[in-house]
């Protein structure tokens, strides 16, 4: 009876519904959504402490025991991601207060954000693969609404493509589920793991696992990222930051969960394929990040590089590489949100989308300029910021697995990330300004503070990595040893 486990899903949904009734009371909506996110952060910290003390927690909905009922499982990996997702959402909401505009706020912006975070949290915590599908859809429906909110021509056009791609991905998800249920007769993830181990992962099951790989790769933007740059560059900045930080990460989480818990018996097929896909993803992402001068495209391709990097750790699947993946996943959520917010603010301040038409921003907004510098070196993986630990651990894992070529590509991608952002930094942040002092557009405090908070988070996660290490090690232990998870879920 751990009802606390379901709170990250239920609280945002219920508050979101209440906010629907308060359509015209914007201040109340802001306050309530802020309180909700704060309480989610508090709940996930309590959950983390409980898991350290007494092991993985489980909640059976309606008292139906697994594998028959639907259960929510809280292990360190899931809760760490819930925690970071809640922090990032909180900060993006603060940014939205001063940037999103009253029209959006009256069009149910806050309820949709809360529904989306409910779907994200549900996807992280569910122990049932069909429920994962449902939570995915909750998250996606909210994101469809958020991406189309406002309804200008370009936005609607891109959102139609985004929706159709995701409908197709969901279709593949259902097909894979149907075959999985037909073969193994269960949908509980822990029970699936047991059944796959019993039956042996034969050709049919491997094919099903590849179907899942396609589905989650499409959602995560692993290799199949063609939809990502278009859709992530149309919504308002706060929404784009939420998308960039959270949506692809859910796909990555699902991949890591599926291929460490259920389909881990044939690494020479599945994991090699993931490795190859992530290498291609990184290379393509690097090319994209260098090729474009449109800032939002540069940022979108940086998301793609991040996805490839995290999944490299899954591909070799050694202890340290998986630990690195968890660190890097947490870092990437924070750093990508920060990057999206900074770039959105730059576009907002200058009215230009291409960085070669901006210059000298640091003269008017010195703090803002240095924040860009921070996110740049954080993404490049320079200590003491958060990217460092993850990169080092993934690198260590790649060395253990003796994949030196992949290692070279991985670290070369860091240089490319640095280059692509340094280019922006030198051109748009440094350089001569054409606007004289006093004529510049003011930078609202409400937009600067969230970015500053995210900078503190990336610094905290990097500098205080030691403090997090016990949680991350516990998460890694659960991922590497599926028996711990299985035992926690299936025990009566």
């Amino acid at each position: 009876m751990n009802n606390l486990v379901v709170m990250p899903l239920v609280v945002p949904i219920m508050i979101g519904i209440v906010l629907v009734f308060l359509k015209n009371h914007i201040r109340v909506q802001r306050a309530l959504s802020l309180i909700t996110m704060l309480s989610l952060i508090f709940i996930s910290i309590v959950l983390l402490e409980n898991i350290q003390a007494s092991g993985i927690m489980r909640l059976d909905f309606g008292g139906w025991l697994p594998p028959y009922g639907i259960s929510f499982v809280a292990d360190s990996f899931a809760i760490l991601l819930v925690l970071i997702a809640s922090i990032v959402t909180l900060i993006c909401l603060i940014y939205a207060y001063s940037s999103i505009g009253e029209r959006h706020e009256k069009m149910y912006f806050y309820p949709f954000v809360l529904f989306m975070i409910a779907g994200v949290n549900g996807s992280f915590m569910t122990g049932d693969i069909f429920n994962l599908f449902v939570c995915f859809e909750v998250m996606l429906l909210a994101s469809y609404a958020l991406i189309a909110l406002g309804g200008n021509k370009k936005q609607l056009r891109e959102s139609l493509k985004y929706v159709l791609i995701n409908v197709l991905a969901s279709w593949f998800f259902l097909v894979a589920l149907a075959f999985l249920y037909g073969t193994l007769g269960t949908l509980n993830m822990a029970h699936l793991s047991v059944r796959v181990a019993e039956e042996g992962q034969d050709a049919l099951l491997t094919t099903i696992s590849l179907l899942f790989l396609v589905v989650f790769a499409l959602k995560a933007g692993l290799l199949l990222f063609f939809w990502l740059p278009g859709s992530y560059s149309v919504p308002p900045t706060a929404v784009a930051a939420l998308f960039g930080a959270l949506l692809t990460k859910v796909g990555i989480y699902a991949l890591i969960r599926m291929f460490t818990l259920v389909f881990y018996h044939k690494p020479e097929v599945t994991h090699i394929l993931i490795e190859g896909m992530s290498v291609v993803t990184i290379i393509a992402g690097c090319l994209g990040a260098i090729a474009y001068k449109d800032l939002r495209q540069v940022v979108a391709y940086n998301v793609v590089i991040g996805v490839g990097f995290v999944l490299m750790g899954l591909g070799v699947a050694t202890d340290s590489s998986l630990q690195g993946s968890i660190y890097y996943l947490m870092h990437d959520m924070i750093a990508k949100a920060m990057l999206f917010l900074i770039v959105g603010t730059m576009i907002n301040l200058t009215g230009e989308k291409r960085f070669d038409r901006m210059s000298g921003l640091i003269r008017h907004y010195p703090l803002f300029g240095w924040l860009f510098f921070i996110v740049m070196i954080s993404l490049a993986g320079i200590p003491p910021f958060s990217g460092f630990v993850g990169k080092i651990l993934i690198g260590q894992g790649l060395i253990e697995a003796e994949s030196y070529v992949v290692l070279a590509i991985a670290f070369f991608s860091s240089v490319v990330v640095l280059y692509s952002l340094l280019r922006v930094f030198l051109q748009a942040i440094f350089g001569e300004t054409s606007v004289s002092i006093g004529d510049e557009k003011p930078l609202p405090k409400g937009q600067l503070i969230p970015i500053l908070l995210l900078a503190c988070c990336t610094f905290g996660l990097g500098f205080g990595a030691e403090g997090f290490s016990s949680f991350v090690e516990d998460a890694t232990k659960t991922i590497v040893n599926p028996e711990i998870y299985i035992q926690a879920v299936l025990e009566k």
Partner: protein, 112 residues
Amino acid sequence: METMMILLIGVLVSVATYLILSKNVIRVILGTAILSHAVHLLILTIAGVKKGNVPLLKEAESPYTDALPQALILTAIVISFAVTAFVLVLAFRIYQTSKSDDFESLRGQKYE
């Protein structure tokens, strides 16, 4: 029975694929709707068509059919219903703003 169902699913999937490959927005949406029906039938078929009695409490003496696929399909129907409805509204709004229901003209200028 299973063979018939599989054939039907095949027909539905090919019809849906044909519709999705067209350039008309409404046809594509109809295609996705048919596609979702195909997968619902697939779930129903793959778990075994009518192997026992109805899974109801009153008549539970004899071995009864697995009720889980029905629950899965109901959930999936609700979701695909919501998504299809959303896409229809979206397509309508796009028609209003862009005056077009043709994907050719909805491609968008490359990186304006």
